[in-house]
């Protein structure tokens, strides 16, 4: 439905595992093995209990962490480190407080070989997309949390990435702002046709946003279940269909959380 144009898999995760060495020298399996293919333009949402390794997964996708085993490839190329081709939206915004709103959006563009004049117009275009064109010259500390995250959204889309990684981007926002930004994000995503990998622990958020939902198991995080959603957006979370899905996902997650606690004791 939203998957258009290209034929190749923009993101291919195969046999991915991550094992940490604990301080006592034991090895602890944090993740996987996980194998997932993500189609072009797909909005993939990963839900899981806390500590299941979903953030580790995203860190590996971003290139901050090396997997213990397995590979991640983007458009057929195996990733080796962070790249501007996989931009990211962080839960804590991660805007550069010494730069103006406009320069934050321009930051990534400056690293690409784009003429100065064009950088500015692209940045302004994306600020307009998130409705902050009048705030271009403001300082970051003058903005509210919701506005900051909109700047971060503009910054992430502006660099024209193959994939957008989002690490619980709305987790720090109040419920109203969160609802608003979920809608905004969908609008922008539909306009821009990007591939998104979105991490959250909110089942509602997942149902509201996703083309496909992956539910992860507790540690070591594996893919426990998968749903494809093709109900039209904006979705009514109170419809029977979505209510039923929510209940299903919750019952799975409850099982997983229980496992975590029975391990701990």
């Amino acid at each position: 439905m939203n998957a258009p144009l290209t034929t190749g898999k923009p993101l291919c995760i195969s046999g991915l595992t991550k094992t940490y060495e604990t301080r006592t020298g034991e090895s602890m399996e944090a993740l996987g093995p996980i194998s997932v293919d993500v189609a072009a333009g797909e909005f993939l949402v990963v839900v899981g209990p806390s500590g299941c390794g979903k953030s580790t997964l995203l860190q590996i996708l971003a290139g901050f962490l090396k997997p213990t085993d397995g590979t991640v490839s983007v458009n057929g190329e195996i990733i080796t480190g962070p790249s501007i081709d996989r931009s990211m939206i962080f839960q804590s915004y991660a805007l550069f407080p010494w730069l103006s709103v406009l320069d934050n959006v321009r930051f990534g563009l400056r690293r690409k070989t784009i003429p100065r004049e064009q950088q500015r117009s692209i940045a302004l275009q994306y600020l307009r997309l998130v409705g902050l064109q009048d705030f271009a010259d403001k300082n970051i500390d003058e903005l509210s949390g919701g506005m900051k995250q909109r700047v971060a959204i503009a910054r992430a889309f502006a660099v024209n990435p193959s994939i957008l990684l989002m690490d619980e981007p709305f987790g720090a926002l109040d419920a109203l702002t969160r609802r608003f930004l979920q809608r905004e994000l969908l609008r922008i995503w539909q306009e821009q046709q990007r591939t998104v990998v979105f991490i959250t622990h909110s089942v509602n958020e997942a149902i509201f946003l996703a083309d496909r939902i992956l539910v992860m198991s507790s540690r070591p995080g594996r893919i426990r279940a998968e749903w494809r959603l093709d109900s039209p957006r904006p979705r009514d979370l109170n419809s029977d269909q979505h209510r039923r899905l929510e209940a299903e996902i919750f019952s799975l997650l409850d099982e997983e959380v229980t496992k975590t606690f029975s391990w701990a004791t």
């Binding site: 971003a62 290139g63 901050f64 480190g81 962070p82 790249s83 501007i84 996989r86 931009s87 990211m88 962080f90 804590s92 991660a94 805007l95 550069f96 407080p97 010494w98 730069l99 930051f107 990534g108 400056r110 690293r111 690409k112 300082n139 500390d141 910054r155 660099v159």
Partner: protein, 272 residues
């Protein structure tokens, strides 16, 4: 309704007349008040104990001497020497300590090599270096610059290291994701600007310690500078001259600190 509108209109003219006061003048008021109290207490002590003027002269005598020393330019010359020495040493410290601190803060390996030296040398007060400075450099300019250098170096170094180390890891990640793929670009585009507010704090603190160190160095070995002025006053039993020197030290130190606070407020405001 009436009450509300009365409330709304009343502060209008009042506030505008209040705003006629420049903000700076309002901020200076507490300090003027403190100065007046100090002078009053001083006068009362003089009136009650009637000390010998070579022990504690009355404020008016000191004001007179101040006017005299300021009038013939002697005060300005001494102040100029002290300020020039501090600025020279402080700039020198900054040129060395800021890059060193940034490197220490961003490379654990490098920090492990350099830090032991810093921790061993840092507890030695700059004042303890004065005798060695005289032995090595005599009583020329370089000895005093050296002492102030020691006094300003560590505050700048430590807050630079803290600034570079304290960069929010998520900003480093953001830098990497948005194209700073090699360490140098990440350093230039993220680490340095993120550490800047902390560096500015270090520069400000260092100027204060440097200002204290120069007076001490001039007390011991100098023919010029505010430290020399007060040491000389003591030698010739001129308490009024000593007090003029002290006042000049206080006022200049205060003005410099105010200046740095201003810089910090306007250019160092990036610390979240």
């Amino acid at each position: 309704m009436n009450i509300a509108s009365a409330k709304n209109s009343a502060p209008g003219p009042g506030r505008t007349s209040h705003r006629r006061w420049p903000a700076n003048a309002v901020r200076a008021l507490p300090f003027c008040y403190a100065a007046i109290v100090i002078v009053l207490v001083w006068q009362i002590v003089v009136d009650i104990t009637k000390p010998d003027p070579s022990i504690l002269p009355p404020p008016i005598d000191v004001a007179w001497t101040f006017g005299h020393l300021a009038g013939d330019g002697e005060l300005a010359v001494h102040a100029g020497y002290s300020v020039a020495r501090v600025i020279t040493a402080w700039l020198l410290s900054g040129i060395i300590a800021i890059p060193l601190g940034l490197l220490m803060g961003s490379s654990q390996h490098f920090e492990r090599i350099v830090n032991p030296f810093v921790e061993l040398l840092r507890p030695i007060s700059p004042l303890a270096w004065i005798p060695m400075a005289i032995l090595w450099f005599g009583i020329g300019e370089s000895g005093k610059v050296f002492v102030v250098f020691i006094g300003t170096f560590f505050p700048i170094l430590l807050s630079t290291v803290a600034g570079a180390k304290g960069v929010d890891p998520v900003l480093l990640h953001a830098g990497q994701v948005f194209g700073c793929t090699n360490r140098l670009t990440l350093f230039r585009r993220v680490v340095v600007p993120a550490a800047l507010p902390s560096i500015v704090v270090g520069l400000r603190v260092a100027f204060g310690t440097g200002w204290a160190a120069i007076i001490a160095a001039e007390l011991v070995a100098a023919h010029s500078g505010l430290g020399y002025l007060i040491a000389n006053g003591m030698d010739i039993l001129r308490a009024d001259q000593v007090l003029v020197g002290m006042i000049a030290i206080g006022v200049l130190g205060f003005l410099f600190d105010t200046f740095f606070r201003y810089l910090q407020a306007h250019y160092g405001r990036t610390a979240r």
